[in-house]
């Protein structure tokens, strides 16, 4: 596309920059302002400080919420990676029932979270399951399962079928083929899926509010704080969560982009 006239190139560049600034600059405001004090409802730009972060670290409720978030995240990751991988393995190469299963798995991910959350809430009440961290973990797993399933299935599909055939051909049993060939080739997809699942669980708010008991996770805590009024440590919290999420996504990308394209099907 080198043939574009110079003027239109400049015009396109200007539009692109404008859109990028409008869309993404709000994200940077809390990060920047978290390093300044706020007095009388406006940011005091004259003296950079880390005091908001100190206040955050001393906020006991916040630390408890962070711990809860991590517990939920880890449990969700374990549950969703195990079940997502099993589902992907079971349905890989099987035609019947696969599209229905995929539809069901993707439904909670695509539906408005409030609908998924309400459905879960009603379900838990009907079967008499008390709202607790367990129900939160179940809710999160239902929500993120689609990501893990999809990630693992994609890797399975890109894996050359002859790898499995070669393993059998060399005398391996089905069990040996699974542990020594299939699983190692899936592991990076599983790690990538796990990181994405953790990031989603970490940020998830709506379903959590509906199905949690007395304990709140970090985003829920943040939401509660917002209702009471804007305090400076919210900026710090938003900045931290944002950076953490970005870090997770970068990590996930590293695991999910195939390292060796060359060996797979020429």
């Amino acid at each position: 596309m080198s043939a574009l006239p110079r003027l239109s190139t400049i015009f396109l560049a200007a539009i692109t920059t404008l859109v990028a600034v409008l869309l993404y600059s709000p994200l940077f405001v809390p990060i920047v302002s978290s390093f300044f004090t706020i007095s009388h409802g406006s940011v005091d730009w004259s003296s950079p400080t880390l005091s908001t972060y100190v206040a955050l670290a001393e906020n006991h409720d916040m630390l408890v919420a962070l711990r809860t978030t991590l517990i939920v995240g880890v449990c969700t990751v374990i549950l969703s990676v195990v079940s997502g991988t099993l589902l992907a393995l079971y349905y890989h190469g099987r035609r019947s029932g696969r599209s229905l299963l995929q539809f069901i798995i993707f439904l909670p991910f695509l539906m408005p979270p409030i609908i998924s959350g309400l459905a879960l809430l009603i379900f838990f009440r009907e079967i008499g399951l008390e709202r607790s961290l367990l129900t939160v973990v179940i809710g999160h797993t239902v929500f993120v399962l689609a990501i893990v399933y999809r990630t693992v299935l994609m890797r399975l599909q890109s894996m050359s079928r002859t790898l499995v055939e070669a393993s059998y051909d060399l005398g391996a049993t089905g069990w040996q083929t699974f542990w020594r060939i299939i699983l190692p080739n899936l592991s990076s997809a599983m790690v990538g899926g796990a990181i994405l699942a953790f990031a989603l669980s970490f940020d998830e708010t709506m379903i959590t509010i509906l199905v949690t008991g007395t304990q709140s996770t970090l985003p829920v805590r943040l939401w509660a704080m917002m209702r009471l009024g804007f305090s400076p440590d919210i900026n710090a919290l938003v900045a931290l969560i944002l950076m953490f999420t970005v870090l997770l996504c970068v990590l996930a990308a590293r695991f999910l982009i195939p390292r060796q394209v060359a060996t797979e099907r020429t």
């Binding site: 002859t162 055939e165 070669a166 393993s167």
Partner: protein, 367 residues
């Protein structure tokens, strides 16, 4: 190793995918220690034959016998055969030695023993220095040799090779052909090599099995197939050939005449009893190679006809002339191959020529 004992026998083997038949009643014997090439165009069922033998696909009917024992139902991981796959199928997460040693380690061979045999196998394929590399760090030719080492380390009775050279460039392919053949001689193992490239087949095989549309068309030495093709398909598929349609005439000892648009041609039928037995007047082709055809001189009385050179193509060591022959010099297109000369060919485009081939260099195939 006795080249006369049958290692593996396929008896009326058929295979269908759903309702689509891909192999019809195949009978094939593989001799112990031979290099057998299965040659055919794509869709001829040649890869299916290999997959059935390897156990990668179940038979629809018929049986496969190893040393006389039926192994049709034996699971793939118990068959004493190993395969070199077309895409090599190297395990990307294992090093070269991990790949080569895999077949031994799944059989719980001791570590020391595995290390020793892996080193030996890598030495054999000249990859000793690459033991710790990953497949992605190797070139195509190197990967191919890893795949070969991985297959032969288990000391299989038969090594199955599924178009292993298809992905390599021409020069490398030639080198690998020589290399494969020398390895086969060294380890004295039976090779079943599947390819669509007839040049590859001629270069390596002890015997060639030509397949088309799920049938075996001919099984024989490269020399047999080249000079005594038994059907039109083999005559056309295997090397360049001139085929002239006609009706069979009477038998004269080891020769038989055929009436064609180029007049009466006399061809050899030695060692081909079915041609001797064929009825007079039956449709057949006279087949003669471009290099057997030559400009006629006074001595040539048989198989003499005239034509016009319509095209000349320089092909390095030889020059190929396309000739229009037959009534009005239009009925038949023939190819003539003559050695090239530095001062230019003696032939000129548009020139009328008189041509001939010796009766013992002409052959017959039934239509």
């Amino acid at each position: 190793m006795n080249q006369n004992t049958d290692l593996l026998t396929l008896r009326s083997v058929s295979k269908s995918y759903g309702t689509v038949p891909v192999l019809h009643d195949i009978d094939l014997s593989i001799k112990d220690g031979e290099f057998l090439t299965v040659l055919g165009p794509s869709g001829s069922g040649k890869t299916t034959v290999l997959r059935l033998i390897g156990g990668l696909e179940p038979l629809t009917s018929g049986e496969i016998r190893l040393d006389g024992q039926d192994i049709s139902r034996m699971p793939i991981n118990r068959r004493p055969f190993n395969t070199v796959f077309q895409d090599y199928a190297l395990f990307p997460h294992l090093t070269v030695s991990g790949n080569v040693g895999y077949g031994l380690s799944v059989r719980h061979v001791q570590r020391k023993e595995i290390a020793r045999r892996v080193a030996e196998a890598l030495e054999l394929v000249q990859l000793g220095r690459f033991a710790d590399r990953f497949p992605a760090q190797l070139s195509g030719g190197q990967r191919q040799r890893v795949a070969l080492a991985r297959a032969l380390i288990c000391q299989p009775r038969l090594i199955l090779l599924d178009e292993p050279l298809a992905a390599l460039d021409l020069e490398l392919r030639r080198q690998m052909q020589v290399f494969l053949k020398s390895i086969q001689r060294e380890i004295r193992t039976t090779f079943l090599f599947v390819t669509h490239d007839q040049e590859e087949a001629i270069g390596m095989a002890d015997r060639i099995c030509v397949m088309e549309a799920g049938h075996i068309r001919q099984l024989g030495t490269p020399h047999d197939l080249y000079y005594r093709p038994n059907c039109e398909f083999v005559a056309r598929f295997f090397g360049e050939n001139n085929l002239v349609a006609g009706k069979l005439g009477p038998v004269q000892g080891e020769l038989r005449s055929i009436e064609t648009a180029l007049g009466r041609l006399i061809c050899s039928i030695s060692d081909q009893p079915h041609l001797k037995a064929a009825a007079e007047g039956a449709s057949a082709y006279a087949a003669f190679r471009p290099e057997a055809l030559h400009l006629a001189d006074a001595k040539d009385t048989d198989n003499r006809f005239s034509g016009t050179i319509s095209d000349l193509a320089f092909a390095g060591s030889s020059t190929v002339a396309t000739i229009a022959a037959g009534p009005d010099n239009a009925a038949q297109r023939l190819r003539l191959r003559v050695p090239s000369r530095v001062d230019g060919s003696a032939l000129r485009s548009g020139e009328a020529v008189s041509l001939s081939f010796a009766p013992h260099e002409g052959h017959l195939v039934l239509a």
